[in-house]
């Protein structure tokens, strides 16, 4: 059998893939198989998510204009990325895109992260240490509401863990809450400037 891609070499790699319930067979030569293996398929899930969970701007714009509300933004003023382009590639254009398209991305992001809606974990250390002013901390970690939300999410995970008798995990979550809470308490500039270089 000849390779179904180049039709020149003998097909030596026979692959069966099950995608979305349908069976696909591939017969390739060694060279083409190597190339095929290097094609990314990782953007598939994000594209599926986009088509399912991202609100189409067209639909939105129509409703919005009748209600005389501001229409959902369709282009990022900072990098000129459009919603349309994002829907095609699954990639955003710049950090500002996340703020501009926040409402439209929300459901998609929650879905992609299995319900995770806000960040828990590491924050940029130097930026945080040097950000003594309240405004800087808020810029990094969000306002009181967002931080409270994050603590709420952790508390929920903790309750779940305790219910399932996963005590080691519960202890970890408690540590995590302590970390978030200590930042919330304003104990932010505490170790700024010293110790880090030692």
């Amino acid at each position: 059998m000849l390779c179904e891609n180049c039709g020149q070499h003998e097909a030596t790699i026979h692959e069966v893939l099950i995608k979305g319930g349908t069976k696909m067979e591939k017969h390739l030569c060694e060279v083409c198989a190597q190339v095929a293996a290097s094609e990314p398929s990782s953007n598939l899930p994000i594209n599926e998510l986009i088509s399912k969970y991202m609100v189409s701007p067209g639909v939105h714009a129509g409703e919005a204009s009748e209600a005389r509300e501001a229409p959902a933004p369709t282009v990022c003023p900072s990098c000129a990325m459009t919603v349309r382009e994002f829907r095609q590639s699954g990639l955003l254009g710049c950090p500002v895109c996340y703020s501009v398209f926040e409402d439209q991305l929300g459901p998609l992001i929650e879905r992609a992260h299995e319900g995770g809606a806000c960040h828990v974990g590491k924050t940029p250390r130097r930026a945080l240490d040097s950000g003594r002013e309240r405004g800087d901390v808020e810029r990094l970690l969000g306002d009181t509401r967002e931080r409270a939300e994050r603590l709420g999410a952790l508390r929920k995970q903790l309750t779940d863990a305790v219910e399932r008798e996963q005590y080691e995990r519960a202890a970890q979550l408690r540590d995590e809450m302590r970390r978030v809470a200590s930042v919330l308490g304003g104990d932010v500039g505490g170790n700024a400037g010293d110790g880090e270089q030692a």
Binding site: S41, S89, L91, G115, A117, Q157, Q172
Partner: protein, 367 residues
């Protein structure tokens, strides 16, 4: 830069076959994605943006702080747009850069210019690698042999801090570290564990394990990544979500809850093979070694499958005179680019199979 292929016969820390549970776990890896505030992502970056970003990042990577945090003796920088395809493929096979980074095109095949882009590699262990101007501006990776996610988290955290000393990361209060693709935001961290599961494959229980892992929202992939069959019975298990769970919680779930269970299943299946199907297993592993010691033509996949069975035989005490580490290394040396590199001229497909068989025979004491 000198050809990365020369003098690369050792290296590849992740194949050492050491560390916790190394009978089942080949290696552990952590990778984080970071972008700089004030610059567009690669999708919208102009050549000028890319040059500036690369400059900023490279300067930090070549700093003393980075070297100290990475624990490397020296740091090698490779301008990827400057080296030929074969050398890039060698880096892919050594798991030091992604295929996407080797190719230099964004996932969509569109986006900005594909250069400059590069990778920094910590030598001699190759435990640390930092890709610059991939899908995200920085992709930091640390690898170790065996199950070692907690240690990896500690190390990657230090490296991240060392880089951040001189870089402003793009960060959002709600979405965390910002990445080009919304599936990587939050911590931006992916842990993955490469498992060798020949017994589960032979007993047919592998599908159940895969489904169970996927139910726990983990991704299970083969050696060559998504969609590929697990070559050599090697499977990668990794977290799929990066938003809403801290790095510590992720490590805990993988290292203390999920991976140990898979390890137990595999060990149990290996015991079953020894106790209930001893003759057949003895036959299979000895035959595999016999073929590798005598074959005159070998393809990549066939070699990998046979090496997998030999590795199993060594671990079960059925094969003597073969070291596990040698088998691990062969799994890398039989790959296309590595094989091509050991030759002095471009080889045809048939010639590669001949050379591969020769290499394996020599290494395993065949005829």
């Amino acid at each position: 830069m000198s050809r990365p292929s020369t003098g690369w016969s050792g290296g590849a820390e992740w194949l050492r076959g050491e560390g916790e549970a190394s009978d089942v776990v080949m290696s552990s890896r952590a990778r984080i994605a970071r972008n700089l505030a004030g610059y567009p992502f690669m999708t919208k970056a102009t050549s000028e943006d890319r040059v500036q970003v690369l400059d900023l990042c490279r300067r930090r990577i070549l700093s003393d702080e980075f070297k100290r945090a990475s624990g490397a003796e020296s740091v090698m920088w490779v301008d990827l747009h400057d080296v030929d395809k074969l050398e890039r493929q060698v880096l892919v096979e050594r798991h030091l850069i992604s295929r996407q980074h080797a190719r230099g095109k964004l996932t969509t095949g569109k986006g900005g210019a594909d250069q400059p882009r590069g990778v920094a590699i910590g030598l001699p262990s190759e435990r640390v690698a930092v890709m610059v101007n991939e899908e995200d501006q920085l992709r930091i990776q640390v690898i170790r042999s065996g199950l070692a996610l907690s240690q990896l988290l500690e190390q990657i955290d230090r490296i991240d801090d060392a880089l951040e000393q001189g870089l402003d990361y793009a960060f959002h209060p709600r979405f965390g570290y910002l990445t080009a693709c919304p599936t990587n935001i939050g911590t931006g961290i992916r842990f993955s564990v490469m498992l060798h599961l020949p017994a589960l494959k032979l007993t047919g229980e592998i599908e159940r394990v895969k489904r169970a892992a996927e139910d726990m929202s983990l991704a299970v992939r083969g050696f060559y990544g998504e969609g590929s069959d697990a070559v050599g019975d090697l499977y990668q298990v990794s977290n799929q979500t990066t938003l809403g769970k801290s790095e510590h919680v992720l490590v805990h779930e993988l290292e203390r809850e999920i991976v140990p269970r898979i390890i137990d299943y595999e060990r149990h299946a290996r015991r079953t093979l020894l106790e209930k199907r001893r003759a057949a297993t003895d036959d299979r592993t000895n035959r595999a070694l016999g073929v590798l010691r005598t074959a005159r033509l070998l393809g990549v996949e066939e070699s990998m499958q046979l090496l997998s069975h030999v590795r199993l035989g060594v671990l079960l005490g059925l094969l003597e005179g073969v070291e596990q580490q040698r088998v691990n290394h062969l799994m890398l040396l039989v790959q296309q680019a590595h094989l091509q590199c050991s030759a002095t001229r471009e080889l045809s497909q048939q010639e590669r199979r001949i050379e591969r068989a020769k290499l394996v025979r020599k290494s395993l004491g065949g005829t």
